[in-house]
Amino acid sequence: MTAATEVKPAKVRRFRFNWVDSFLWFIRIAAIITIVIGFIGSIQLFLAGEGPTPAQWRDLVISSISQGAMYGLIALGYSMVYGVLGFINFAHGEVFMSGTMVGFVAADNLFRAGMWESNILLSVLIVLLVAMSTSMLIAVLVEKVAYRPLRGAPRLIPLITSIGVSFFLQYSFAGLFGVGVRTYPALPASVPSRVNILGVPIETTKLVVIVVAILSAIGLWYFVARTRTGRAVRAVAEDKEIAGLMGINVDRTIVTTFAIGGAMAGVAALMWALLFRSVDFTTGFLPGIKAFTAAVLGGIGNLPGALLGGVLLGLFEGTGPLLILAGLGIPAVSQLKDAVAFIALVLVLIFRPSGLLGERLGSEDRA
């Protein structure tokens, strides 16, 4: 074409100043600088002999990991539901809370009956089963009553519904069980408080939590990757309509998803009981949000990602205040633990919205 030769030299500007991007870059850089400065400051504090001792650091890391493992298990529920239905089940924290509350009833009664002291292993197992079945039941009921009628509605509609469900569950439990804080019975004296693993003394509860988390993760992986139902879940996550045409019962598969998510939340409920012991109707809110953060951090829809995200978030919020904020000279850093978790959420979504291990979403969510 002749037209091409007539073009005068174009003012070619490839890069254009865009102020949203600049602002995001500013946040990224500021975050990194803050973290680095804080870290250096904390190391100085450590070298100066202030702050926690190495043994305290070790305990802190271990308890952060165990707490993170709990977040990870709750995060599985968010991740699976997001993968299959494409919305944030805001009420999942309450599913977890229901496990801790009803689990408490079981533990309390076992304690009254004296079994807690005489056979702690069986008692914990019973509490675990009770918590798991409660959470599973609540998760499945919620799906049936509140979410199923909204299948196919715009994405924000089920999200808003789940906020309502969350309110409803919280205050139902407040109504049924009272608003007071309940405390699980302490582990009996017969259980040693610390166990030595390779010469490192680890608190028993935390060890149990980590072991249970690993076992449940393996169980879940086996279920999703190796069983027929697991395959159905993956197929439905990929494309509900096609899965339905392939003879998969979509409704039942979705119920299964909620049930598994609920069961994992139930396991997490037992962990909460072991780690913190005290529960009330608001127990689910913060762990719920943090678990969601963990799910996003690992890549929503990605199951190993959820666990990894949980552990990382646990480490970040457990050690972050002391490791970074204390170095910046901020007093009473432990008050800011939750803020650190939320800031982690914001930073993850700015730095890497698809998570560390990548999102795995059904086709409709990518559009």
Binding site: I88, D108, A146, P149, R155, F168, A332, V346
Partner: protein
């Protein structure tokens, strides 16, 4: 009649009745007498359950071209079965909690509940009454559709008015203090409608409603139709009347009701602000309370003498100017990082922002500036021609609230039909296409955040002047969520809807920390909020008074009966209605 379905529904009813008994709701609600001497709120709610379930269960879904069975005695029988099964299950439950002591686990499932559920008449008689009442309520619910449409809706209006009179007892007594004779006749000395008066109100209203059937829908379209640009003369007249009423009413009303209305108007203000963000621009912001806190704290720091570090002791209006600027900055700071996020991520991140703000304000770190847990005290109030008006003068203070609500209404309407409003609407419907049509979504989103932030900061400035102190407690996530419920219930994007939503919800139920008209509800307020949110999303996602655009969406569905509606239709018969109302 489908017996299995009826028994199934009856069991659900029974569970729901046992549930509200078990959480102590019946006992607490019985503190409110609706009609002297027998009808109390607790029993009304208890027996409303079988009634509503029966009404809903006998409903037929009308699909185009599908014959439906006419309503008949089968429906009445179904209602009866639902009521009976529900009542028997509840009776069994009462016997159970009477024999087994579970109060150490479920504190409310003890003797007070048993006493209340058996009408203080002892087990055998009480249980018979319980089951019988439930049977009656269910039967009536099943029979409702046998009544001709016109009479049915008239009866419904009559009932609504009686309930309204009972609910608004303090307001009405307050308003008509000059006509003591009338209010003394209507209301019993210990509270509640006088039985005779209730019957009279019911008959009169029902009769009028029957006679002027259809008139109110014309009126409603005229009143609510202010969404449309062409306003007819009657609409203008109605608006004028409302305006005069708003100005005169606070003078007539007492301090208590004005106090209540101040709360309502604060939530109206925030609701209108959030409505711009969610309803118009489609950004689900769950951390809206952050802007409220920013407004309150900025005003507090600038005006209070006791502000820890900075205390310029500005006047309220001067502080308001600064507050607006701070709110704009806050809006941009929150808005920018979330601009490229998907809708649901945006929701959670804004929720996170709200909590970050609260935690920081509470922390020891910022205590030297914001007072930590003690907050900031000694905020003087609004300076106005030499006066300082604070919450101790609710009758005067409310005018400032009304002023700012009026500003919010005008701003909302003007933006709705403007270049900016159209850009928001386009963005909400299809962000990619809006971009391709030349709408800069970055700017549009930031404008939405900023406008919302400024309106919330007004509410914050007002609240700090009203209370005189600011605490972080008043700014938790609950506030954001309750404003969200107000917007959803009223109708996303609908300005009159949001105002009515605030009036009904905050006025009757109360805000997160403030009591409403029905103080008896306080403990169960949030449970009710949750329930309302679920039911609204399932049954009427467009809200009570949908906006023009949203009602188009609704109309859309009716016209096309597309796949989603079809599915919805199926579920209406099968699952959706198992939510106890």
């Amino acid at each position: 009649m489908n017996l299995r379905k009826a028994v199934n529904r009856g069991l659900i009813t029974g569970l729901a009745m046992s549930f509200i008994g078990g959480i102590g709701m019946v006992t607490a609600f019985n503190g409110k007498v609706l009609i002297e001497p027998i009808v109390t709120l607790g029993y009304a709610v208890l027996f409303a359950l079988p009634f509503v379930v029966a009404v809903v269960s006998t409903k037929r879904v009308v699909l185009e071209g599908v014959e439906t069975e006419p309503y008949g005695w089968g429906d009445v029988a179904m209602g009866a079965v639902i009521g009976l099964v529900g009542g028997l299950l509840t009776a069994g439950y009462v016997i159970l909690i009477d024999t087994i002591d579970v109060t150490h686990t479920f504190p409310d499932m003890g003797p007070p509940t048993v006493l209340e559920m058996t009408f203080h008449k002892g087990l055998p008689v009480g249980l018979a009454l319980l089951a019988g009442g439930s049977l009656l309520a269910g039967t009536l619910g099943g029979a409702v559709r046998l009544i001709p449409e016109r009479a049915r809706s008239a009866l419904f209006v009559g009932l609504l008015w009686v309930v309204g009179f009972a609910f608004f007892e303090p307001v009405i007594e307050d308003m008509f203090e000059f006509a003591r004779v009338v209010t003394r006749f209507i209301y019993a000395p210990n509270g509640g409608l006088n039985g005779v008066a209730a019957v009279i109100i019911f008959i009169v209203v029902t009769g009028l409603a029957y006679r002027f059937q259809g008139g109110e829908s014309v009126l409603r379209t005229r009143l609510v139709g202010v969404d449309d640009r062409g306003r007819s003369f009657p609409t203008k007249l109605a608006l004028l009347l409302i305006g005069v009423g708003v100005v005169v009413l606070p003078m007539v009303l007492g301090g208590l009701v004005n106090e209540l209305l101040i709360n309502v108007s604060l939530f109206m203000l925030m609701g209108l602000g959030l409505n711009i963000v969610i309803g118009m621009a489609g950004l689900l912001d769950l951390g809206y309370v952050a802007f409220f806190a920013v407004g309150a704290y900025t005003t507090a720091v600038l005006t209070a003498a006791q502000s820890p570090t900075w205390n310029p002791e500005l006047g309220w209006w001067a502080a308001l100017g600064v507050t607006m600027v701070v709110a704009v900055i806050a809006g941009i700071l929150v808005g920018t990082p979330v601009i490229r996020m998907r809708g649901d991520y945006l929701a959670i991140v804004t929720l996170g922002f709200g909590e970050i703000v609260r935690i920081l304000l509470l922390s020891d770190w910022l205590k030297p500036y914001f007072g930590g847990a003690q907050g900031i005290r000694g905020i003087p109030g609004i300076n106005f021609f030499g006066l300082t008006i604070s919450g101790v003068d609710p009758q005067l203070f409310i005018y400032f609230c009304i002023f700012f609500v009026a500003i919010a209404v005008v701003v909302s309407y003007r933006l709705l039909y403007s270049r900016v409003g159209r850009a928001w609407a386009a963005m909400r419907e299809d962000e990619d296409v809006a971009e391709a049509t030349g709408v800069g979504t970055v700017t549009a989103k930031l404008l939405a955040f900023v406008t919302g932030a400024v309106l919330a900061s007004f509410a914050g400035a007002l609240v700090s002047a009203k209370v005189g102190t600011v605490f972080t407690n008043s700014f938790d996530v609950l506030v954001s969520l309750i404003i969200l419920v107000v917007v959803i219930v009223g109708g996303m994007g609908s300005i009159p809807g949001v105002m009515v939503g605030a009036l009904v919800l905050i006025g009757v139920l109360g805000g997160p920390r403030s009591p409403g008209l029905l103080a008896e509800l306080a403990e169960y307020k949030l449970l009710i909020y949750g329930m309302i949110l679920i039911v609204m999303m399932l049954k009427r996602p467009e809200g009570l008074i949908p906006s023009a655009r949203r009602s188009r969406e609704l109309h859309h569905e009716e016209l096309t009966q597309d796949a989603w509606l079809d599915k919805k239709g199926q579920f209406t018969t099968e699952q959706a209605e198992e939510v106890p109302a």
